[in-house]
Symmetry: C2
Subunit: 214 residues, 2 copies
Amino acid sequence: MIKVLIYEDIRELREGLTMLLNGSEGFEVLAAYRNCDNVVDEVTGLQPDVILMDIDMPGTTGLEGLKRVREVNKVVKILMLTVFDDNDHVFKAITNGANGYLLKKTKPALLLEYIADAHTGGAPMTSSIATQVLQMFASMNNHKKEETFNLTERERQVLQLLVDGYSYKMIAAEKFISIDTVRSHIKKIYEKLQVNSKSEAIAKAFKNRMTEDR
Amino acid sequence: MIKVLIYEDIRELREGLTMLLNGSEGFEVLAAYRNCDNVVDEVTGLQPDVILMDIDMPGTTGLEGLKRVREVNKVVKILMLTVFDDNDHVFKAITNGANGYLLKKTKPALLLEYIADAHTGGAPMTSSIATQVLQMFASMNNHKKEETFNLTERERQVLQLLVDGYSYKMIAAEKFISIDTVRSHIKKIYEKLQVNSKSEAIAKAFKNRMTEDR
DNA sequence: TGAATTTATACATGTTTATGCGATTGTCTG
DNA sequence: CAGACAATCGCATAAACATGTATAAATTCA
């Protein structure tokens, strides 16, 4: 039996969801609230398995409710409900520990499946939401491609050491070369990166993710 | 009619998928290959709507195939198939532009739905995969919270300018303070960050995402 | 109100960087 | 083979930085 808590400000929808779940095998609605002003107390008191949380609620918003619950309970599964597949909301919900993100227009049968899914550790998402998540993800990481600035292997090594906070002297010792050689490499690196100080080179290296993040 | 191209090294599965799709209303398999050694030619020649791509293939791997296709075609939908919900593969597939990621054990009926879904712009994912994606996403972004190192407002400003490549002199001019004041601020910053050079401070600022990425 | 913190300034000394001009050796390629 | 490039080393100089020690007004907060 999956114990569910519902937060939804629209009465029809709230009651509809309650009836749907209570009328389905394996689901039980512990309570349904019109806002999440007391969400922490309610969750700790009732100990639900899954929470359906509307995002767009007056007063304490669903995102705020999500945060509050997560502060005291990391295991309860929280599914966000919304009418819009709004990019910003999706992002915030995910980074705040939501387990899934569903559009309200999801069909009842699917909804039940999604809830069960979340309960067993899945992360159900309406596919339009998933698309957004993938795009965000891809855009974040595509950052790091290309732009090697035609550095030679040796230059890359030297730059890496610079980024790691080594002085010329230390680089020389590390690589068994003279400090003058280090200088000449670094001069070349500056040319290629089009900078003229260690700081700028390091900043550029980080911005272009050219270095080994340790 | 959704035109599908299949890449799968296991004959039974390849033929099974072909039969399933050809026997279903609205789907047509253009071809099914055992490897993606010639994937670019095949895709440009046949112009499919959706590609089912096995990840674990001998020879040219599915990830490699994905990359090659994406170099010449940004619109065709590519669904990755795999037996394992391996973290690393999922990550690479996503950042290389896959539209969805399915486990091979997905039921036939669902598979058809997923393909149609991808065709209309969705990003179908087995929910266990989705869970991983969300976790990766959350962990990436939680990076940037906290760890302000108790820098004062002024110190933060100075650090920001350092990161932007300003010299002491330039910072002094920018902030209308003397260079000696800049020195003392920076000395304090080093103490708090527990570093002892500009380079290390900058690196630490980037690693902790304390600065404004411009 | 009084103590602590932040912000500001000053001076001195030694270290590190940035940059210029050269020069030698080996490798690769047209 | 000649020319391009990578990697190495040397020397010189001016600028920038790191660090220590001191002082003091302004602000914050218990």
